[in-house]
């Protein structure tokens, strides 16, 4: 029975690795300037974790196979080098491996989170609420008007709580239900939560960031491929969580300018 277990472990390990090696289920193709670094980090980690996984499972299986057959008079053998060798192996092999992953991984993280957006990044505000995203562009004045939570009204379609009567900066703000951005331009995304926690996840953009009620956060990224992509919520926000989504449309600069004009006319 031990031998069957050994074979089963090896079969499970190999079968488990096949979809990874064949890329059967991959994330949507990357469309961002920073995503390559994340994907590279992912591949390196997959290689190291994959080797560790296969090597450990196969070794476990081999030991089970070999050391379950013994005769009563057999003596116990000690692993060459004993515990000391194994502790050294863990520190040297895994320690070096994880330290390398950690150090190299800093670069991708720092690019996304520890560098400021460039001065000419396009500001877009996104507000998350149960169970929809709304987007706001500052309009020709380049300035967002202030938010008045007490004025938020779904019924009046005042999703952000703008006071266009009194706040001059709000008058030209453009509010939309879908997000459009020009290709190859950096976007400075300003994130605001209306009610509970939500998240902004665009797998194709390699972006995920929670909305934190009471704390406005920001992100910056550049999309490099024209197309339509899904924005989904990943932070459990209530009964409609699964259906909280919007589309991100990456356009040419001209198309974006036209889109913005069209949306401005609809306000």
């Amino acid at each position: 029975m031990a031998k069957i277990l050994a074979v089963t472990i090896i079969v499970i390990a190999i079968v488990s690795a096949i979809p990874i090696i064949r890329h059967t289920w991959d994330p949507p193709a990357d469309i961002s300037t920073h995503g390559g670094m994340i994907d590279e980090q992912m591949s390196e980690t997959m290689a190291e974790a994959g080797i560790s996984f296969l090597a450990s499972q196969i070794l476990l299986a081999l030991f089970i196979w070999k050391f379950s057959s013994w005769r009563p008079g057999d003596k116990i053998k000690t692993f060459p080098g004993g515990a000391k060798a194994l502790v050294w192996a863990a520190f040297l092999l895994v320690g070096t491996e994880v330290l390398a992953l950690g150090v190299f991984g800093v670069k991708a993280w720092a690019t996304v989170y520890l560098t400021p957006p460039s001065a000419n990044a396009i500001p877009v505000q996104v507000q998350a609420g149960q169970f929809a995203f709304y987007f706001r562009y500052p309009g020709p004045d380049g300035t967002f008007g202030p938010l008045h939570p007490d004025m938020i009204s779904e019924a009046n379609e005042n999703f952000f709580g703008l006071d266009t009567t009194h706040d001059a900066d709000s008058k030209d703000d453009i509010v939309t239900a879908e997000m459009a951005i020009p290709v190859d331009r950096e976007i400075h995304l300003l994130m605001h939560a209306k009610d509970v926690g939500h998240s902004f996840y665009v797998p194709a953009l390699r972006v995920q960031q929670d909305f934190v009620p009471g704390l406005d956060l920001s992100l910056h990224f550049t999309a490099t491929q024209i197309g339509k992509y899904e924005i989904v919520c990943t932070q459990l926000c209530g009964l409609g969580h699964y259906n909280m989504k919007a589309y991100l449309e990456v356009m040419s600069q001209d198309d974006f300018d036209n889109w913005l004009k069209k949306e401005a006319a609809l306000q």
Binding site: T24, W109, Q130, L236
Partner: protein, 594 residues
């Protein structure tokens, strides 16, 4: 360490049914009560997972009889989106708290820790009884939330604020459901704090003559280390739950900031912090992962050693590694919050200890594997589940390499990759530890053997089934499949639905296989083959009791004296292939690490 023999006679056996079986002060009865509660809890949790899995695979398919559970939650037997989330929250809460914490730690620990240290009972039997009954009350409070008007909370077992703190406006179950959840968990924390105090004192003060700390079996070490973690982790979660309750019933705003609008209504809260909840929760939550798994490591080590007929390559290195896991577990909790809005520099600071914690984990795995090398491995159901544990722990562990890195977490956070990771490393592995412990200690607890053939069938179906369920979760996560969705409506998720169907079928079949275990458990309890005092030819003190099951005061009139390290197997020159801890027989000192 004390010679407690003078006190043995003071521990009178109870006479009435109530004091013997219900409000018992006997650690063994309390251990069995915890086991029974965990068994009831795991059955509920498993049925909830079946309902969730069927719904995920065939979303609008009616599940016959579901409306009986909740007419509002399943009109026409089809689960509503909110009911899915409510069942999911209950599944996770029941499993994490009332199964994974109680069975390997509170159940087996209660029964066997005092015996393994050579004591007649725990030092505070009344606290011990309270520990169980307070925990059980917490369980009843949690289950009662199924029966309140809008059902249990839908906020997930993590109960992130402000969804959890803002009240009924945020969704069904978010009023009374959350309050009951928080009361339940606060009670659970009180119960486990009382238990942890007892475990720590038992280990430090109740050891019998000759039982130095290094002569404790690895299972006893694991329970001791876990109880130290429990003492600090549950002490943080309990006040967090109290603050959450106050946000509901006293108009406070600990976790709710100002300016929030629900249903076009400005909420009357101000000044709270949503991230405060996450910090408090995960300061408990990550040690909780180790509270669930370290007892399993101890049990599996104990069972493996007996069946390898040799001690581990190094007893001390294993103990130090489990201790390192415990210490590091408090420094890594922020890896749950990489994309939470916490300062991104903090994410890097939490990333490194998370990567480093793989080192003691690897040491533990290598010591297990290096000890199998050259051993005389015996195959029985308990050792099969122990070997299965090692395999599962490796599989679940390597995915930790990914989740420890903030940059990769951008893609994998809140996806099924995380669900696959924690189910393998914490849930399935811990459950395998529980199974290994059950098959191994059942003869001592009930005086009868479990059926080995049924046990092996149970192992094979569970081992292969668990892999079929949880390995594909990783593929889903890599493809960006978000967790906690009741249906997959996004375009990019459509190709993944067949994978979900495969998982559901595997989950149902693996679940049915657990009925074999249940049958074996109950059948063997009454009609199993009578067990001898030491059926596995093991060495530690639980196998030296004068009767099986042990008498009320464990060792009869005189507490045992210990002469050896716990695991004297394949001893050269000994009369048998093992030497009991209580045997004064001289052994080869090379084998006596302590």
């Amino acid at each position: 360490m004390h010679d407690m023999s003078a006190h043995a006679a003071e521990h009178h056996a109870p006479t009435s049914f109530i004091s013997k079986h219900v409000f018992s002060l006997d650690h063994k009865v309390i251990g069995k009560q915890y086991y029974g509660m965990a068994l009831a809890a795991v059955l509920i949790g498993m049925v909830l997972s079946w309902l969730m899995r069927i719904h995920l695979a065939w979303t609008n398919y009616p599940i016959p009889g579901l409306h009986l559970l909740s007419a509002n939650g399943a009109p026409g037997n089809v689960m509503t989106p909110e009911y899915y989330l409510q069942l999911m929250t209950m599944h996770a809460t029941i499993m994490v708290f009332f199964v994974l914490t109680t069975a390997p730690f509170a159940a087996f620990g209660n029964y066997f820790l005092p015996i393994q240290v050579g004591a007649e009972d725990m030092p505070f039997p009344h606290f011990n009884m309270m520990s169980f009954w307070v925990t059980f009350s917490g369980f009843l409070v949690l289950v009662s939330s199924f029966f309140v008007s809008d059902g249990p909370t839908l906020g997930g077992w993590t109960q992130y604020a402000p969804l959890s703190a803002i009240g009924p406006a945020s969704g069904p179950g978010q009023g009374m459901g959350v309050v009951l959840w928080a009361i339940s968990i606060a009670l659970f924390c009180v119960g486990q704090l009382l238990g942890s105090l007892n475990f720590i004192t038992t280990t430090l003060d109740m050891r019998t003559k000759g039982m130095s700390m290094w002569r404790l079996p690895l299972s006893a070490w694991a329970w001791f280390i876990t109880s130290v973690m429990g003492l600090t982790a549950f002490a943080v979660l309990m006040p967090a739950c109290i603050l959450l309750i106050l946000d509901h019933v006293a108009g406070t705003s600990f976790f709710v900031p100002s300016g929030l609008v629900l249903n076009d209504q400005l909420q009357p809260h101000s000044g709270g912090s949503t991230l405060l909840w996450q910090h408090l929760f995960w300061f408990f939550g990550h040690p909780e992962v180790y509270i669930a798994i370290v007892p399993g490591m101890g049990i599996v080590s104990h069972v493996l050693i007996t069946n390898m007929r040799r001690p581990m390559l190094s007893h001390r290195v294993l103990v130090y590694s489990m201790g390192a896991l415990a210490v590091l577990s408090y420094m890594v909790y922020g890896h749950h919050m990489f994309v939470s809005g916490m300062n991104p520099v903090s994410s890097l600071a939490f990333s490194f200890p998370t990567l480093i914690i793989t080192i003691p984990s690897t040491v533990i795995v290598l010591i297990w594997m290096g000890s199998i090398y050259g051993s005389k491995l015996r195959i029985n159901t308990a050792s099969l589940f122990s070997l299965g544990f090692v395999s599962m722990f490796i599989s679940g562990g390597v995915s930790g390499f990914f989740l420890a890195q903030p940059s990769i977490d951008i893609m994998l956070h809140a996806t099924y990759f995380v669900v696959g990771h924690f189910h393998l490393v914490m849930a399935v592995a811990a459950i395998f530890g529980i199974f290994a412990g059950t098959y191994f200690w059942f003869p001592k607890m009930f005086g009868r053997m479990m059926d080995e053939t049924l046990g092996k069938i149970h192992f094979w179906l569970t081992f292969v089934g668990a892999y079929c369920i949880f390995m594909p979760f990783h593929y889903l996560g890599i493809a960006g499949n978000v967790r906690r969705y009741q249906a997959f409506v996004d375009d990019y998720l459509q190709p993944l639905i067949p994978v979900h169907r495969f998982i559901t079928i595997a989950a149902l079949l693996t679940g049915v296989a657990q009925l074999i275990f249940l049958y074996n458990l109950f059948y063997s309890r009454f009609w199993g083959k009578p067990a001898t005092d030491n059926p596995w030819e093991a060495t530690s003190l639980e196998w030296s009791t004068p009767t099986t099951p042990p008498p009320h005061n464990n060792f009869g009139d005189k507490l045992p004296e210990v002469f050896h390290d716990p695991y004297q197997y394949s001893v050269e020159g000994a009369t048998r292939d093992y030497v009991m801890q209580t045997s004064p027989e001289k052994v080869n000192p090379a084998n006596d690490e302590a």
